[in-house]
């Protein structure tokens, strides 16, 4: 019983870590490229900076999306583990029957 719980919790911790980590890699690379292009174009055409800045924030919001979804799901698994809940329900049902 303890082995089951600790296995589920260990796997969940790994899963959450991988989700958040891989999401972070993608987002970081994306922001880096985006920021680099923004700086290049600002240097070429400084009068376009306000226009480009608006679009910069829009694309930043889009980039954030999938990694935030990953963080949300990872934190959900950490603090309200659905796998643990259903496994414990099965164990309780098995013990009660």
């Amino acid at each position: 019983m303890e082995a089951l719980v600790s296995q589920i919790q260990g796997m969940t911790a790994l899963a959450a870590a991988i989700m958040i980590g891989l999401g972070a890699i993608g987002t970081a690379l994306g922001f880096g490229i985006l920021g680099g292009k923004f700086l290049e174009s600002s240097a070429r055409q400084p009068e376009m900076i306000p226009v480009l800045q608006t679009k910069l924030f829009i694309i930043a919001g889009l980039l954030d999306a999938i990694s935030m979804i990953g963080v949300g799901v990872g934190l959900l698994y950490t603090f309200n583990n659905p796998f643990l809940t259903s496994a414990l329900a099965v164990v309780k049902a098995g013990a009660g029957a």
Binding site: F57, I58, A60, G61, L62, D64, A65, I66, M68, I69, G70, V71, G72, V73, L75, L76, F79, N80
Partner: protein
Amino acid sequence: MAGSATDYIKHHLTHAKAPHDGGFWSLNVDTFSVSLLLGFIFLFVFARVVRTFSIEKPGRLQCLVEIIVDMVATQVKDIFHAKSAMVAPLALTVFCWVFLMNAMDMLPVDFLPYIAQLIGGALGADPHHVYLRVVPSADVNATFAMSLSVMILIIAFSIKAKGFGGYMHELFSAPFGPKVGPINFIFQLIELIAKPISLALRLFGNMYAGELIFILIALLPWYMQWLLGAPWAIFHILVITLQAFVFMMLTIVYLSLAVEDH
């Protein structure tokens, strides 16, 4: 209240449900009532500015409302090229409402839930089972409600612009040409479903993660609160505004894609 850190976190992540034990069809009363209240506050403030409108001596509230309306109108004019009387007010509502809902995250984590516990205790309920989550956009139900409404609007705008037959034809003939109908349909379906899902989960993920980090910071000793809490709160101000802005922009962009004429 005694209890471990996990209990504290779990307590602050539970919604006030009706019926109390949850289940798929239970209603998150806190999300519902807070979002409704914020919607009415937004409408009341804007309606009041309209009623006390003055061109010679605009008050500060009127200037703020004018700035917001001007910003939204500029975005709609730049992006949405067809004629519709609904898109700009929709964009304004989406922006202001999502911003207000997100801004509830700036209140201290324990503030309103503690008051709710006192009220609940005075009314006879067990104080430890009085739950309150005050950020509606940190609830999947609220964000999906908004984004599914946007998806229904996308379909409605498409049908209105192209006719029902035209829309069906487009579903089966773009992007690859009329001969590979089913493949086109799968692609179009994926594109159509990805829009509301990403819209909802982007907002939910940002707000849920923000709220959870506030809860975790609340568990730290008092001398570390300001060190970690202040930078995160300041960063969160940016995130709140940005997420509301991105939700509005994507709504406008999706609607403009729905009515676009090739």
